[in-house]
Symmetry: C2
Subunit: 336 residues, 2 copies
C-alpha cells in the first residue's frame, strides 16, 4: 500500500520528540507532510527530516484538521490542553505524557497488548506508557505462558534523560564542577546528582509512593491485562545520562522452568537476551537500540519459584519514541 | 577499667584498614601498642595515629604473640594465610574478608546478634560480615518484633570503594576522560563504569549468582538467626565513590503496622530514620557517618503485607571498619 499520512509531533524539539522524528525517518514511516510543534520558545527553530530542515511552529496556532495523526510528547499539561482539539478535528492521537485516562486512551505496548487496538473507535486515542512500564511489559509479556506470575518487585534506576534535556545538562555540569573541585550548588535536582543516587523521583503521596511508581504499577497491570498483579516499584534516579535499568524479581506459584524462560525470551520480539555469565549495561548495550536487553536470568538462591532478571533499555528510544511509532505503524492500517 | 591492649591491623594501608585505624583513635579504643601491617609493597610507609606516624610493616614477618587482638582487612587470601598463626599465638581476631567459615568465626553485627559473642571460646575468632549484610542487619534486626519477616528482596547499589582503592581511582579517571571527550579504555572494571551501571560484581556461579550475592544471603540469615529466611539479592556496581544504597522490599505474613515500624526504627541503635517525604543519599548523608540511614518507609501500593525501605550507609565505615571496632569493643570486655 502506498497510502501516506500527514503527521504532527507536539514537543518536536524535546528529547523524545527529536528521537521520534528520527525514527519516523529511519523506519520509512509513510509521512506525507510532517508538522513539528513546540512552545513559542522554540518556534522558528528547525529539525532535520529526510534531508530537509523542517521549521518548528507553535502548537497554539496549529489547525489539527491538517493531519490524520498526532504524537503528543510535550508533557501532560500540553496533552490535556490540545488533545480535545485534535480529537475534535477527527485526528488520531498517540500520547506519551500519561495524562489521559485508560478509558479514553488505553496504554499500548505492541509486543504485549496490540490486540487492544482492534477495539478502538475513531478518532483513535492511544497512550504509550512510561518508559518503565513499556520496558517491563516487553519482557514480562512473553513470560506469561511459561510462569504463573504472582508478584513483580522492581527497582528502576532511571537515567537523568528521563527528566528531559535540562536534567542531562545538569548532570554534566555537576560532574565537571566536582572533578574540578569547585563547590557544588545543585540546580534542577534537589541535591547532588553526580556520583550519587536519589531514591525518590518526584514528590511522594501520603503513602510514600511517587507518581512514577504508581504509573509503573497501574500501566504495567493494564498492559499485562493482570489488574490484580502484585507489583512493588521503587524508582531511583541514577547518575547515568541515557538508558534505564531494572532489577526485577518475579514470583510464580510453581517452580520456574529456566530453559522455558530462556527460550521464551530468545523468541520474543523486542528482546535481546544476553548470554549467561554476561550482562547488559545502559551505556554499552541499550543506548540507541530498538530492543530491551535482558541478562542475569536466574532463579532464587534457594527458592525455585523466584525468577530474577536485569533489564536495560534506551528510555528515550525503546521506552518512549519507538514504542509510540510502533503503535502508529499498527494504527495506520485502520486509518485509511 | 584502664586495661589497654596491643593491637594489630593487617591491611592498614587499605581503604578499610586506614578507616579502622582512624576509628580506633576517634573512639578512644584502649590501644597500648598499635602494629600496622601490609604487604611488602607498602612496608615502610606510615599511617597517622594519635598524632604520631606509625610505620607499616610486612605481615609475613610479624610475631602475633606480641598482640592480644588482630583485625584482618587485607582480603581472604591474607586471612587464610595468617589467621592460623594469630590463633596459634593465642591472639583474638576479627576478620573482615569473609574467608572464615561460620563454625570457626561467626558473623557478628553488634546491633543484631551481639549475644553470639558470649558463646565464643578463646582465642576468639569473629567475622565482620560484608558491608551489605551488616547494613541490612542493622535495620532488619529491630524490625524482628514488629513484623513476621518471610522474604527480603534487595537490590544493592554498591559504591566503587567496595572494591578498594584502585576502583575509586578508576571511576575518577574514566569520568575525566569522558568529560574531556577522550576515548575510553576501561581498566579494573571490565567496561565503562562512569555514567553506567554494572549489573554483576564478580563472576557468577553456574546458577547465575555472584559470590557477593551469596555472601549477603548467607551472612544475613546467620546474623538474623533466621536460617530459612527467603532472601533475593542483586548486587550492582554504581558510579558512586563512597556509600552503598539498598532498595529493600520485605514480606510479612500479616499487615504491616507502619507506626510500629517507624517507632522501632526511631529507637534502634545505629539507625537514622529520615522524615517521611525526605530520603537519604550516600553522598549527602551516609558518607563519614556511624549510622545506617533509612528512608522511603512505606507499605505496598495495595499490599499491606509488604514493606519497602531505602537504606544507605558508608560501606567502608559503618559497613566494615566501624562494625569491626564495635565487635572489638565488646570482645575486649572478655579478653582480660
Ligand atoms: N525522556 C524520557 O525518557 C521519556 C520517556 C517516556 C515519556 N516521556 C514523556 O515525553 C514527554 C516529553 O519528554 P521529554 O523528555 O522529551 O522532555 P523535554 O526534553 O523537556 O522536551 C519537552 C518538549 O515539549 C515542548 N513543550 C514544553 N512546554 C510546551 C508548551 N507549553 N507548548 C508546546 N510545547 C511545549 C518543548 O518545546 P520547547 O522547545 O518549545 O520548550 C519540547 O519540545 C513528557 O510527557 C515525558 O513525560 C519522556
Ligand atoms: N571496601 C569495602 O567497602 C569493604 C567492606 C567490607 C569488607 N571489605 C573487605 O576488607 C578487606 C580490605 O578491603 P579494602 O577495600 O580495604 O581493599 P584495599 O583498599 O585494596 O586495601 C587492601 C589492603 O590489604 C593489603 N594487602 C593486600 N595484599 C596483601 C598481602 N599479600 N599481604 C599483606 N597485606 C596485603 C594492602 O596492602 P598494600 O598497601 O601493601 O598493598 C592494603 O592495606 C577485603 O577483604 C574486603 O573484602 C571491604
Amino acid at each position: 500500500m502506498s497510502q501516506s499520512f500527514d503527521i504532527a509531533v507536539v514537543g518536536a524539539t524535546g528529547t523524545v520528540g527529536e528521537t521520534l522524528v528520527q525514527i519516523l525517518e529511519e523506519r520509512d514511516f509513510p509521512v506525507a507532510n510532517l508538522h513539528l510543534l513546540a512552545s513559542s520558545e522554540s518556534a522558528g527553530h528547525s529539525v532535520p527530516f529526510r534531508g530537509k530542515n523542517v521549521r518548528v511552529r507553535e502548537v497554539d496556532e496549529f489547525d489539527f484538521s491538517k493531519v490524520q495523526l498526532v504524537f503528543f510528547a510535550a508533557g501532560p499539561a500540553v496533552t490535556l490542553s490540545f488533545a480535545p482539539r485534535a480529537t475534535a478535528a477527527g485526528c488520531a492521537l498517540i500520547d506519551l505524557s500519561g495524562a489521559l485516562p485508560a478509558e479514553q486512551a488505553p496504554q499500548v505496548v505492541p509486543e504485549a497488548n496490540s490486540s487492544v487496538l482492534a477495539g478502538l473507535k475513531k478518532p483513535f486515542q492511544v497512550s504509550s506508557p512510561s518508559a518503565s512500564a513499556t520496558t517491563l511489559a516487553v519482557v514480562l509479556a512473553p513470560l506469561r505462558d511459561v510462569l504463573d506470575l504472582q508478584r513483580v518487585t522492581v527497582t528502576a534506576s532511571l537515567a537523568v534523560s528521563a527528566q528531559g534535556r535540562e536534567a542531562v545538562t545538569e548532570l554534566a555540569r555537576q560532574t565537571a564542577e566536582l572533578l574540578n573541585v569547585r563547590p557544588l550548588e545543585p540546580r534542577f535536582f534537589d541535591r547532588q546528582m553526580a556520583f550519587n543516587l536519589l531514591a525518590q523521583v518526584g514528590t511522594p503521596d501520603a503513602q510514600g509512593h511517587t507518581l512514577l511508581e504508581k504509573r509503573l504499577v497501574r500501566e504495567l497491570r493494564e498492559v499485562m491485562a493482570q489488574p490484580l498483579l502484585k507489583i512493588s516499584a521503587t524508582c531511583v534516579q541514577a547518575p547515568v545520562f541515557f538508558g534505564d535499568s531494572f532489577s526485577v524479581t518475579l514470583q510464580s506459584t510453581k517452580a520456574i522452568d529456566l530453559a522455558a524462560v530462556n527460550a521464551a525470551l530468545e523468541a520474543a520480539p523486542g528482546v535481546e537476551l544476553v548470554e549467561a555469565g554476561d550482562y547488559p549495561t545502559p551505556v554499552g548495550d541499550a543506548v540507541g537500540q530498538d530492543v530491551v536487553y535482558v541478562g542475569r536470568v536466574r532463579s532464587g538462591v534457594d527458592d525455585p519459584t523466584e525468577l530474577d532478571l536485569w533489564l536495560t533499555s534506551d528510555n528515550v528510544r525503546k521506552g518512549a519514541a519507538l514504542n509510540a511509532v510502533q503503535v502508529a505503524e499498527l494504527l495506520i492500517k485502520d486509518l485509511v
